[in-house]
């Protein structure tokens, strides 16, 4: 028997004698392969988690334990060495690869990457999801030479996850800063942020290390409208940094132009710590029925179901509810959702049936609650879109790839690999399962092209505006001058708003000009009237569709902003929305899209309209600063918004807010109330708060 032709499912059922004989043959084949195969041979590596899984289930394999550890050590998966039965040499090897502060044993490729970084080189690491990339960042922070570190992450959910982990591990030595309002008080500091947050920080100073997670997002071809800002932010950070470390999954190469300012080592490895079984269901005739069957199977739990869009996720959830499927008990959370978001949201019924949903329109605190409950195995099935795949860590045993598109486009091999990589988790599910409902995309090499490493003459305008003069060729300087003329703003202003895109700026310039000529009511100061808001929203929606902000029209956008401002609580706002909503039931959650837009993009638009309006009407008093400050925090106290990013729903926190509260005072009070059984919170709320604010 060889590794290649082993049927592991059948093997696990064999009688003791045959089982042992076969496992011995597998060990023989593995030891042979070690000598001849590449060091990251996926089939050979997968043997380790498969054997670990088998040995945990079949006690008769006790005598194989020392040989298993010798195999784990030999392939470099030192984290699988069983210290209680390993030989002294293998135990020493495992101990030496253990970072005491982390209490974790690294594997060979992790160590190799760390080694490169410790020697002062820049590194771009491409490794599978289950490689254990994030832990390398923590391992680096134990190195005394990294005192000022910036970490760029794509989502707020990841920011929060990192913040929690880093504060727990390094809170004693490092200041961990995530918000503009926070300033460093110690010499050692970690700046955590998305590209949008970090690009506008002015207290970065000289950095010892810049970490960019999910670095493939630098590639503008991946249709991510934040990629240019990411390039610009990373450009700015690297200009201040002694060293950098980029990490991401399944990339085959990074293209650089000849004159690129930055040099780095590229390490691409297929080293994985878990094994995956693929179950091919593409020829199944009724896929709906089959999916409904599979999600009911406990042996598949916890299971992620991947679908193409938020609408599809909502639809699938309501289908499951209609079928009468009940997978767990989410009654308390479901009731809370109906109370706090209004009763029309169908998702609350799905939650009652034990199904979670994760996509871009789910409120942040609720999404993070779903992930937590899913990882704790309290919600057995989570229906998700690519939002989850790209930015949240989950511990799923199974991944069911039910759709074959993302927003109507077939997903590519890279995305497929990343979805598939979500199955299995080190230490929890040694062997994951992937259910394929469709033909997977053909294998193709994925190369990342980043303007950052490319020829500036080919780079988009939005990136070039951020470049230092020393990096600019005469051709590019001329292009910048032309652009400035078209946009009609100073270079620093273009830089500040480049995230909207140069064409959007040009469009807003024209729209504001037209509005001024039409005497629209856009010249206001302080608190705008509804008409002021409506006029300003009309200008904005001439350039960018209202749907982008989660609304049907400019008037509706103005109404939403106005109602948000008037509502004393977020709960009141949600109830107003739920009661007045008349659209498609599956789209009711577009209100969350509006709220997300209010946090970042809408204020940017308002600010640009203000700029052009001032240029057009220099004699008028014009000041949007109040709304620019209040819209991002939904006209609430800043502390509520910050806690929301940490997973505390505003509908709970706003009940306990007092005058003069800071994040710390409010957070401490919430936690105290949550730990007190006699408090004004329900049991479900208490647990939620205790999980979100662990200390």
């Amino acid at each position: 028997m060889s590794i290649s032709n082993t049927n592991w499912i059948e093997l696990a059922q064999k009688n003791e004698f045959d089982l042992k004989g076969d496992v011995f043959s597998i060990l023989q084949d593995a030891s042979n392969r070690i000598q001849n195969a590449p060091a990251d041979d996926p089939e050979l590596l997968a043997t380790i988690p498969r054997l670990a899984d088998l040995m945990a289930r079949r006690n008769e394999l006790q005598s194989f334990s020392e040989a298993f550890s010798a195999l784990a050590r030999s392939v470099g998966l030192w984290n699988y060495i069983d210290r209680s039965s390993a030989s002294a040499q293998d135990e020493l090897a495992a101990e030496r690869a253990t970072i005491p502060g982390l209490g974790l044993t690294l594997h060979r490729e992790q160590l190799s990457a760390l080694h490169t970084l410790a020697s002062g080189k820049n590194l771009i690491l491409s490794a599978p999801t289950s490689f254990g990339k994030s832990i390398l960042i923590d391992a680096l922070l134990y190195q005394p030479k990294f005192r000022r570190v910036a970490i760029v992450l794509p989502t707020i959910a990841l920011l929060d996850e990192f913040r929690r982990r880093l504060i727990t591990r390094f809170g004693e030595t490092f200041d961990v800063l995530m918000h503009h309002s926070e300033k460093a008080s110690r010499e050692k500091v970690i700046f955590l942020g998305t590209q949008e947050r970090l690009i506008n920080r002015d207290d970065l100073g000289t950095l010892d290390l810049v970490v960019v997670d999910e670095f493939y997002k630098l590639d503008p071809h991946r249709k991510d409208d934040r990629s240019v800002t990411l390039n610009a932010a990373v450009y700015k950070l690297l200009s201040k940094a002694r060293q950098f470390f980029f990490l991401g999954p399944n990339i085959d190469g990074v293209l650089t132009s000849e004159g690129s300012r930055w040099r780095f080592e590229f390490l691409r490895t297929r080293f994985s710590t878990v094994a995956v079984d693929t179950i091919d269901l593409k020829s199944v005739s009724n896929k709906d029925v089959r999916l409904h069957q599979e999600i009911k199977m406990q042996s598949n739990w916890p299971a992620l179901v991947f679908v193409s869009s938020p609408d599809k996720a909502n639809k699938l959830a309501s289908d499951i509810v209609e079928n009468g499927t009940k997978l767990g008990n989410g009654t308390a959370l479901s009731k809370w959702m109906a109370d706090n978001y209004g009763g029309k949201w169908e998702l609350s019924e799905a939650v009652a049936a034990g199904i979670g949903i994760h996509h871009g329109r789910i409120p942040r605190a609720l999404a993070s609650r779903f992930v937590k409950l899913f990882n704790d195995r309290k919600i057995p099935v989570l229906i998700c879109t690519s939002t989850l795949i790209e930015g949240v860590n989950t511990a799923a045993k199974s991944v069911m790839i039910y759709d074959k598109t993302i927003a109507n486009r077939p997903y590519d091999f890279f995305t497929f690999s990343n979805i598939r990589g979500r199955a299995g988790r080190l230490g929890k599910h040694h062997v994951g399962q992937v259910y394929l409902f469709h033909e997977p995309p053909d294998h193709e090499d994925v190369e990342v092209t980043a303007p950052l490493f490319g020829d500036p003459e080919q780079a988009p305008d939005e990136f070039v505006v951020h470049m230092d003069d020393v990096d600019l060729s005469p051709v590019v300087s001329d292009r910048l001058a032309d652009m400035a003329e078209r946009v009609g703003l100073e270079p620093h202003q273009i830089r500040r708003f480049s995230g909207l895109g140069v064409e959007t700026l040009v469009g807003l310039r024209a729209a504001v000009g037209a509005a001024v000529r039409a005497r629209a009511a856009i010249a206001w100061s302080g608190r705008p009237s509804y008409d002021n808001l409506a006029a300003t929203c009309e200008v904005i929606c001439k350039v960018t569709k209202a749907q982008v902000f989660g609304c049907g029209s400019a008037r509706q956008l103005a109404l939403y902003i106005s109602k948000l401002r008037q509502s004393a609580t977020m709960k009141e706002f949600y109830h107003w929305h739920s009661e007045s909503y008349k659209g498609l039931p599956q789209r009711i959650d577009n209100v969350f899209k509006f709220l997300r837009a209010a946090e970042f993009s809408l204020p940017e638009y308002f600010a640009v309209v203000e700029l052009f309006a001032k240029i057009n009407m220099p004699s008028r008093t014009l000041d949007y600063s109040l709304i620019l400050a209040e819209l991002p925090r939904w006209f609430r106290d800043e502390s509520l918004k910050i806690l929301e990013e940490q997973g505390v729903p505003i509908q709970i926190s706003e009940r306990f807010l007092r005058n003069g509260d800071t994040v710390t005072t409010l957070g401490t009070r919430l936690r105290a109330i949550a730990l007190n059984e006699q408090s004004q919170m329900s049991a479900m709320e208490r647990q939620w708060i205790a999980d979100a604010i662990p200390r």
């Binding site: 004989g21 030891s31 005598s63 002294a88 030496r96």
Partner: protein, 282 residues
């Protein structure tokens, strides 16, 4: 210079008669100020720890400050509450003798075989390669015994080897499990040939040398204060007694055997010196 040439300085002294059996030697730690060098021997063995525990590829990572040094790892392993001495001192001593006096290079696999009940049994911890002047390639398989009594040690060694050879290694399937042998290893192709599954066990046995290390209490050592003639006679006498037992087992007619005798003043003190040394390494 190959990484295999970097070794701790020689510490043990080889003693033998003028006309010796080339495969039977005595290695003595020597005396200092009238005392057998127990602590010094333990210190010396600790110096061999990286060479013993880590293959070349893993040694590469021993630079920089990413990781704790092997020594610190050893301290943590040996000071953990669950640690019980498994006779590593004996294994390291045999490793050091093969590397130092016989110029072997460590290949680091372990040898297992399948028993009649399909269980896995470990046969040899030490696997080295040696290139004698006749141009052949030898695989050295080590069996070390650290006992209070020399008679029990050799009896146990004979029993182990017989068991491995007769019941497992030869009649059932073998398994040589270890990290990838670097392509830069001298005579790489020939070594790989010997290890390959297709190669018959006969070929492996023909090229194998079984090294028996005996560490035990020695009257000769405890009676002596220096390397004098009387010590020499008494110690060589002990070696010959062990050798006689080995010959009587019949193994030498079937297999190539090397006997290394390392007499100790006291096994107990030696083990505790070694443990203390490891615990004290920082």
């Amino acid at each position: 210079m190959s990484i295999y040439d970097q070794k701790p300085q020689r510490f043990l002294k080889r003693l033998h008669r003028k006309i010796e059996n080339p495969h039977t030697r005595l290695y003595c730690a020597g005396f200092e100020l009238g005392e057998w060098r127990c602590k010094q021997f333990a210190f010396h063995l600790a110096e061999w720890l990286p060479d013993y525990a880590l293959p070349e590829e893993e040694l590469r990572f021993d630079h920089g400050n990413v990781l704790v040094k092997l020594n610190q790892a050893a301290v943590r392993v040996y000071t953990s509450t669950k640690y019980a001495s498994r006779g590593e001192a004996g294994e390291i001593a045999l490793h050091a003798i093969c590397r130092d006096f016989f110029k072997t290079i460590p290949l680091s696999p372990r040898v297992f075989y399948k028993s009649a009940s399909n269980d896995v049994v470990k046969a040899f911890d030490m696997v080295h390669a040696r290139f004698p002047s006749d141009g052949s390639v030898q695989i050295w398989l080590g069996e070390s015994k650290l006992f209070k009594s020399g008679a029990s040690a050799i009896a146990d060694a004979i029993k182990s080897i017989k068991l491995h050879i007769d019941e497992g290694f030869l009649s059932n399937q073998k398994l040589l499990l270890g990290p990838q042998i670097p392509k830069s290893t001298p005579r790489y192709d020939e070594i790989m040939q010997l290890f390959s599954r297709q190669e018959s066990l006969d070929t492996l046995i023909k090229n194998a040398v079984f090294v028996v290390g005996i560490l035990c209490d020695s009257k000769a050592v405890s009676a002596a204060k220096e390397h004098g003639q009387s010590y020499f006679e008494a110690a060589i006498g002990e070696l010959e007694a062990i050798e006689t037992k080995l010959s009587a087992s019949g193994l030498p007619t079937k297999l190539k055997l090397v006997l290394a005798y390392i007499p100790l003043a006291s096994k107990k003190e030696f083990v505790s010196s070694f443990d203390n040394r490891l615990k004290g390494l920082q």
